[in-house]
């Protein structure tokens, strides 16, 4: 049966209406906001918590739009041409917000505890609160990884610290360091033996994974800059113009010692472990001495002494001519050696030693004034932080140790005098 053209036309139009309507409905449902990841923050939830009352706000955000996912904001910002590190920082901050908000709440509660009973320096967070924050931190890391990839977990400071590696390796290494720190951390109440085992395992995992990330040459570079050995030597070489060869020799000696004794650093005083460490330390001192020529060894020891460092500071701050500095350094070296000789001289009585050291102190003062001139000489004598000459006068002789630090003897039988203060850390 044939339809009339007008009826056929109407039928086709109605079918088209139905098809179009169906398509419209389907498209709208597909454009609905993506569901939030359960238990994870989203930009929308984070946006809702942000404080909107801000100074200098000149235009208002338009009527609320359908919230985007974190990935959508990320992509929007990247597509707009903002630098990737800036986008990462902004999105990371959004992801961190729920944990930080909870942390602020907890701190606000701890701040209400009686401040006069301690607790103004550190927040006294309970183990439960600590565990809660750790959980949030864990979730946060997972979300950062999901949205931003490993690069999202790496800070500028990490990239600068590992600038000698490729960007990819620097990122991997920074992540490994962070994960290892997490793995080594124990929950409150974890038995000591379990914690120890966990830390041992974390260290073994670290070494294994490090070998997968870095070549042997890169690992050597890393150790040279990051190891405890390198840090120990860093303090000792701060005022000593060492050659590369001298540094390498001492590095190898110190490294061998550290590898053997790093675990016994906190051994109880008086135990076998602490005695073995002490013996090895003496051997290390002898090995360090043997690694230098006598002249260089003397210069190395001199560079450890606070008053010599003060002399270097005097030269820098007051533009002391090199010849005057050299003369003052010779006076210092000769006085230090003479003080040791007096202290070691078993033929001298305590009274003789005391008298000799008083004489020596006077010679030191005159020598410094003669080398540096009256004014700068007096400045050096009175302003040296170690109070070196006054200590001599009180019968106290101290010697720089090749392994760092000072040893002090009071040879004149007076009140024991503490050693000069250790060198303050180089930077605040």
């Amino acid at each position: 049966m044939l339809m009339k053209p007008s009826t056929l036309f109407l039928s086709v139009s109605l079918v088209a209406n139905l098809a179009g309507g169906w398509w419209l409905l389907r498209d709208q449902s597909s454009r609905a906001p993506a569901p939030a990841v359960v238990g994870q923050p989203t930009a929308a939830t984070v946006a809702a918590s942000a404080d909107q009352s801000l100074p200098g706000k000149t235009s208002v955000v338009e009527a609320p739009k359908a919230p985007l996912t974190l990935e959508a904001y990320r992509d929007q910002l990247l597509a707009a041409g903002l630098p990737p590190e800036v986008v990462r920082a902004a999105i990371r901050a959004l992801i961190e917000e729920p944990r930080l908000a909870r942390q602020r709440e907890i701190y606000a509660v701890t701040a209400r505890q009686p401040w006069w009973q301690g607790g103004i320096v550190y927040q006294n967070v309970t183990p439960e609160q600590n565990a809660e924050l750790q959980e949030l931190r864990k979730a946060e890391r997972a979300e950062i990884l999901r949205v931003l990839g490993p690069a999202g977990l790496v800070a500028d400071a990490d990239r600068e610290r590992y600038a000698y590696l490729s960007a990819d390796k620097a990122e991997k290494l920074a992540l490994l360091e962070r994960e290892t720190t997490e793995r080594r951390r124990g929950e409150p109440g974890l038995p000591a033996a379990e914690l120890q085992e966990r830390q041992r395992q974390a260290t073994a995992d670290y070494e294994r994974e490090l070998a997968e990330i870095l070549t042997p040459e890169e690992r050597a570079l890393l150790a040279e800059r990051e190891s405890n050995t390198a840090r120990t030597l860093g303090n000792r070489f701060e005022f000593f113009a060492a050659t590369d060869q001298e540094y390498r020799q001492l590095y190898d000696l110190q490294k061998a010692f550290d590898e053997k004794f790093s675990g016994s650093l906190t051994a109880s005083i008086g135990t076998e472990a602490s005695r073995a460490r002490s013996d090895a330390m003496q051997q290390l001192s002898a090995d360090i001495q043997a690694a230098f020529t006598p002249e260089r060894y003397a210069a190395y020891l001199q560079s450890q002494r606070p008053e010599y460092r003060a002399l270097l500071e005097l030269q820098r701050r007051f533009s002391v001519p090199q010849a005057a500095f050299d003369q003052a350094a010779r006076v210092h070296a000769s006085v230090s050696a003479e003080a040791q000789r007096i202290a070691d001289d078993s033929a001298l009585s305590r009274e003789d030693k005391r008298a000799s050291l008083i004489d020596l102190a006077e010679r030191a003062r005159n020598g410094m004034r003669s080398a540096l001139g009256q004014e700068l000489g007096n400045t050096f004598i009175t302003a040296t932080s170690s109070n070196w000459i006054d200590l001599l006068e009180r019968g106290s002789v101290y010697a720089a140790q090749p392994t760092g630090g000072m040893s002090t003897r009071n040879v004149a039988g007076g009140q024991p005098v503490p050693p000069p203060p250790p060198a303050p850390p180089p930077k605040s």
């Binding site: 955000v61 209400r112 610290r161 303050p424």
Partner: protein, 442 residues
């Protein structure tokens, strides 16, 4: 009009509408090679670029002032918290770029032993002048963030609000900024006079302290100023003082009295006034193989006489007890491990008794070395059992391990703790007879 004609007209109109919608929609449909979000973002950015004042672009980030950039971001419709973070990044950009430039240059020529310090101090390879330049840039950036965005972005962690909880959040950030500025200047001054402190250096320190006092007075009310002194000044934050306070658990009145004494001691130390003799407590009688100085130096420690006068005898004895490292360690753990104050005191007394007994054993002239060693092993084992009974194994084990001298007792090393000084002697060291009257120094 006939119904069929009306229906046809409506149907055709609906189809036209749908066609128009499809045409618009197809323009927004992402291409296969672009993820939907990126494509949508690209379109939105294009649109923003064309719309002028609300365009969010990399160029806008790089060239607009922070305030203009903030306004541009807000106009683009981004949520406020993203706007704020992007503005913070924009403001910090200058510091970051300059720091990276300076570090890259410095690392080229730094010897390996200087690079090692980067681990703990990322700016360690820079000269003092370069560090100052960066500090100045950071200060400028911080001020700008505060001006443009308010305090919240400067205290995301909540540390500033915690530390300066006695003022409003806005004032807390300003106060923190003020304190840090002076700390930076102080650190720089200290760096320049690490080993050589001239009268001029002392004058400069004094001047800085006076200036800081003046600025604090301008920012804070007298009540806030007092709270700052008691809770956030250098004296209040002296870590040795706070460790002792936390162990002592004073009343507020006691804290105020002890604070005043500590402040006076700090001022004496800052003025370079040295005590007549170093404050080393008397050694126990007998040969001593070594002493470890722990904690505060004599010149900045509250004097015993003044503390006794302020606290009275009973509380003074507890103040003395609170100086001992093994007491402080356990008192610190008490809150988080639900250990009562009585238990802390009982365990501390047990350990003090252990040290006294160890010294007696080492000094005993009737025992030979083997007998002394055996007695020391017994002593350590008994103490371990008693401490474990009071604290439980999970607390006792790490606690005893943290006491540097405890395991040494079973290895034959006697201990004597006097305040914050600890003396050691081996049972193998021959006992020297005391001179008449006793009390000889070792």
């Amino acid at each position: 009009m006939k119904a069929s004609v009306t229906l046809l007209a409506v149907s055709l109109a609906a189809n036209l509408g749908l066609l128009g919608w499809f045409a618009m929609r197809s323009k927004e449909t992402p291409t296969a090679s672009q993820p939907p979000a990126v494509a949508a973002a690209g379109k939105s950015a294009d649109a923003a670029a064309k719309s002028g004042p609300s365009a969010l672009t990399g160029e806008a980030f790089a060239t607009l002032s922070p305030a203009q950039f903030r306004d541009r971001l807000r106009a683009s419709g981004l949520p406020e918290n993203i706007v704020q973070r992007l503005v913070v990044e924009r403001i910090n950009r200058a510091v970051n770029v300059r720091r990276q430039e300076l570090l890259a240059e410095a690392m080229k020529s730094a010897p390996p032993w200087r690079l090692a310090a980067l681990r703990t101090d990322r700016l360690s390879v820079l000269t003092p002048a370069q560090r100052k330049e960066l500090l100045d840039l950071e200060t400028e950036a911080r001020d700008q963030i505060l001006r443009l965005l308010g305090p919240s972005q400067l205290d995301r962690e909540g540390n500033i609000a915690f530390k300066y909880g006695f003022v409003s959040p806005e004032k807390a950030v300003l106060l923190d900024a003020l304190v840090r500025d002076y700390e930076n200047m102080g650190a720089q001054a200290k760096e320049e006079s690490r080993f050589l402190k001239t009268p001029a250096d002392r004058e400069r320190d004094k001047f800085l302290r006076a200036e800081q006092d003046r600025d604090l007075a301008a920012l804070l009310t007298p009540e806030e100023r007092e709270a700052f002194e008691l809770r956030a000044s250098t004296t209040a934050l002296n870590s040795a003082f706070q460790a002792r306070i936390a162990a002592f658990q004073p009343t507020e009145a006691e804290y105020r009295a002890l604070f005043a004494l500590q402040k006076a001691a700090d001022e004496r130390a800052a003025a370079g006034i040295r005590p007549g003799e170093p404050a080393i407590p008397p050694r126990p009688p007998g040969n001593v193989m070594g002493a470890t100085m722990i904690s505060m130096s004599g010149s900045s420690q509250v004097s015993d006489d003044a503390a006794r006068a302020a606290l009275g005898e009973t509380r003074f004895a507890e103040w003395q007890e609170a100086l001992m490292p093994h007491f402080q360690t356990l008192a610190r753990q008490a809150a988080t491990n639900a250990i009562s104050r009585e238990t802390v005191k009982a365990v501390s007394a047990l350990l003090t008794e252990t040290t006294n007994t160890s010294w007696q054993i080492a000094s005993d002239q009737t025992m030979d070395v083997a007998q002394k060693k055996a007695a020391m092993v017994d002593l350590a084992a008994t103490t371990r059992t008693q401490v474990t009974a009071k604290l439980g194994a999970s607390v006792a084990e790490p606690y005893l391990k943290s006491i540097r001298w405890f395991e040494g007792i079973s290895a034959g090393t006697a201990v004597q703790v006097n305040g914050n000084t600890t003396y050691f002697r081996s049972v193998e060291t021959p006992v020297r007879p005391l001179p008449p009257g006793g009390g000889a120094r070792g």
